[in-house]
């Protein structure tokens, strides 16, 4: 039944993609990486919403994690003579050639959510989040929350060696560097997954006197925090009270945990990268205003005070 629905949905989507709204005053091609995570699905949904609200005709191409497909999509956008191209690049290198072609055709290219290794005159601007800043916001929240009290933090890192894991760790450490009372006592990878988050938290709790010595948990993403919250509960402690929980991403499930008082704060990695991109494009098209080469999206902090249930309702249909 579900499969059938998905297939019908996919067919309908394919139908939508081929129709072109004649009234649109701007046609934009969007080469998306794929749908490997809930966040990316939400980014796709929001990009389509933003385009519809602004009356932009969006041509969407899903590259299924292949650069080859993205390059093909960009060439086809150039051939169709779109007004601009949004590109969420799957890898950092190998774009020079196709971006030259876009430049020759005088089509501005905006990078979404990731950057590339190419001369910066090949694209108009890049809209990305600052991963270090995200970690910083999380650390700042914890520092404000605990004040002068002694606080032992355990950290659930993302996949070892991935840039979010490195940068989110760095940002958090920067934020707590001036606070001698806050110390990271254990740090281990949870691979960005719930299962590993739970398993690693279980071992943290065992290693730190049944969890009595832990004051806060910092997780590099919400999924690991959700897993860890269950481990804390099973150890007989109250997540959110006995152990503060702060994480990054702002996926819907963490808002449910916040509404239940089991998580304290999350920093949003906004899936709305297209909004600022369209703003920049509209200005550029209107009077040729060159946007800065890097547009940083807001890393908004959500806490229990921000009506988490309402945010959950807003977010749950975005495709996370």
């Amino acid at each position: 039944m579900r499969i059938l629905k998905t297939l019908v949905g996919a067919a309908a989507l394919a139908g939508l993609m081929t129709t072109t709204a004649l009234a649109a005053d701007m046609t934009v091609g969007f080469s998306q990486i794929g749908s490997e995570s809930g966040w990316r699905a939400a980014e796709t949904t929001l990009t389509k919403q933003q385009a519809e609200e602004r009356g932009i005709d969006l041509k969407f191409a899903d590259a299924q994690q292949k650069q080859e497909n993205q390059i093909k999509a960009i060439r086809s956008f150039i051939a169709q003579g779109v007004d601009a191209i949004l590109l969420a690049p799957v890898v950092a290198t190998g774009w020079d050639q196709v971006l030259e072609e876009a430049k020759e055709a005088e089509i501005p290219v905006v990078l979404l959510d990731r950057t590339i290794d190419a001369p910066d005159d090949l694209y108009l601007t890049a809209v990305t989040s600052d991963l270090v800043h995200e970690g910083n916001v999380a650390g700042q929240w914890l520092a404000d929350k605990v004040g002068d009290e002694q606080c032992n933090v355990v950290e659930l890192q993302g996949t070892t060696g991935s840039s979010p894991a490195i940068d989110r760790k760095k940002g958090f450490e920067q934020a707590i560097a001036d606070h001698d009372n806050i110390k990271i006592v254990r740090s281990q990878t949870g691979d960005f997954t719930r299962t590993k988050g739970k398993e690693v938290m279980e071992s943290f709790l065992k290693a730190e006197n049944g969890g009595k010595d832990i004051c806060a948990l910092y997780a590099h993403n919400d999924d690991m925090a959700v897993g860890a919250i269950q481990a804390i509960k099973e150890a007989g402690l109250k997540p959110g009270e006995d152990i503060l929980v702060v994480s990054i991403d702002a996926v819907p499930d963490i808002f449910q945990a916040m509404a239940n008082g089991e998580a304290n704060a999350t920093v949003e990695l906004t899936p709305n990268m297209a909004g600022p991109a369209f703003d920049a494009l509209e200005k550029y098209k209107a009077d040729g205003t060159e946007p800065p080469k890097w547009i940083q999206t807001e890393s908004k902090l959500y806490t229990q005070a921000d009506d988490p249930m309402k945010v959950y309702e807003e977010k749950k249909n975005l495709g996370y």
Binding site: E36, S187, R194, T195, E199, E202
Partner: protein
């Protein structure tokens, strides 16, 4: 019976010794490692964690042992876990009762196993290729079922499978021990085990001697699928959600490793389920030990690899022969030192 138990233990001595050494290392790194307390109505401690977290690998290893005993291999079990976890979550959230959900989930696992078995038994496709198909396609199927999201559920009955407590013991532990007992008794107290070994030693010879090889192959792959279904349900219930991308990811490799560390040959034939289970516990002890140690995560995989290489080297035929040689030499040397009376002493015993 007693003699066979003793010979079985002797055969597993290297594995049990390895497990003991690893547990001792863990205890040296993490004080209080062997402490087991009773809190919140359940047993609580690192050893319990190892039994509990090792449940999916142990379950997969049970099915994998029999598949490997037939000279096959099942690469699809990780993906089948994802499919079954997704099935369970999708059914329970769309309003099916717990018994129907569990029955359909297990049936899904068995169907996946039968598919593999049919490719191997009837079409004669090599097992590594036959099961590779479902390994690759399986995650896609699971994603179709969950529609690409982590499908969460709140049904207490289903959650019980993953994080419930039965008589103070976590439910996953109860499940894998029960299934290991059931399968172990079934293969050892009937001719089934021998027939499976016969298929593994020489399928054609077994067929010509009247063994129903096709049926047996179907049955072992179906059992592997069944075990993967239970493991998948546990993994989903544990986090109260089906994660099609990550559930059981690379676990097929851990299961194969458990079988190999357990002293079983990938060439089929003689097998030991207990050996594989000890292997699964060795792997999980290493994992838990690394987590407790507090080393930076960059070391995780390296430490794991070094320990496993050490175990496999000790188990290798060459080093076994060497150890046996050294042992014989030493014992004969000590006998000589004791007064050169080996013959009467041997007769007395």
């Amino acid at each position: 019976m007693n003699a066979s138990l003793r010979s079985g233990l002797l055969r597993l001595a290297p594995q049990i010794a390895a497990l003991a050494v690893i547990l001792a290392l863990c205890a040296a790194i993490a004080p209080g490692f062997f402490d087991i307390s009773f809190a919140n109505g359940r047993l609580y401690g690192s050893l319990i964690d190892i039994l509990n977290r090792g449940a999916p690998t142990a379950l997969l290893a049970i099915g994998m042992t029999l598949v490997i005993a037939t000279k096959g291999i099942d690469l699809s079990v990780g993906a089948v876990m994802a499919i079954c976890g997704a099935t369970a979550a999708a059914l329970i959230t769309s309003g099916y009762g717990l018994p129907a959900t569990l029955a359909l989930t297990l049936a899904t696992g068995i169907v996946c196993g039968l598919w593999n078995g049919a490719l191997v038994a009837f079409l004669g496709i090599q097992p590594i290729i036959a099961t590779l198909i479902l390994m690759v396609a399986g995650r896609g199927i699971a994603q179709l079922i969950t529609e690409g999201v982590i499908l969460t559920f709140n049904d207490q009955g289903l959650i019980f499978v993953g994080s419930g407590i039965l008589f103070g013991v976590p439910m996953p532990v109860v499940l894998w021990i029960l299934i290991a007992l059931a399968v172990g008794l079934a293969v050892r107290f009937s001719a089934l085990g021998m027939l499976i070994e016969a298929v593994g030693v020489n399928r054609r010879a077994a067929y010509l001697s009247g063994v129903g090889t096709a049926g047996l192959l179907l049955a072992v792959y179906a059992l592997s699928g069944f075990c993967a279904a239970i493991a998948g349900t546990i993994a989903a219930a544990d986090i109260r959600g089906a994660d099609a991308n990550n559930a059981g990811l690379w676990l097929e490799l851990d299961a194969i490793l458990a079988v190999v560390i357990g002293g079983n040959s990938l060439l089929g034939g003689r097998f030991s389920i207990v050996g594989s289970l000890v292997g699964a516990m060795i792997i999980q002890s290493i994992n838990t030990g690394i987590l407790l140690s507090g080393y930076p995560p960059e070391f995780n995989l390296v430490i794991k690899a070094v320990i496993i290489v050490a175990i496999l080297v000790l188990q290798s035929p060459t080093s076994r022969a060497f150890l046996a040689f050294a042992w014989r030499k030493r014992s004969s040397a000590s006998q000589e030192a004791a007064g050169q009376q080996p013959a009467p002493g041997r007769q007395a015993s």
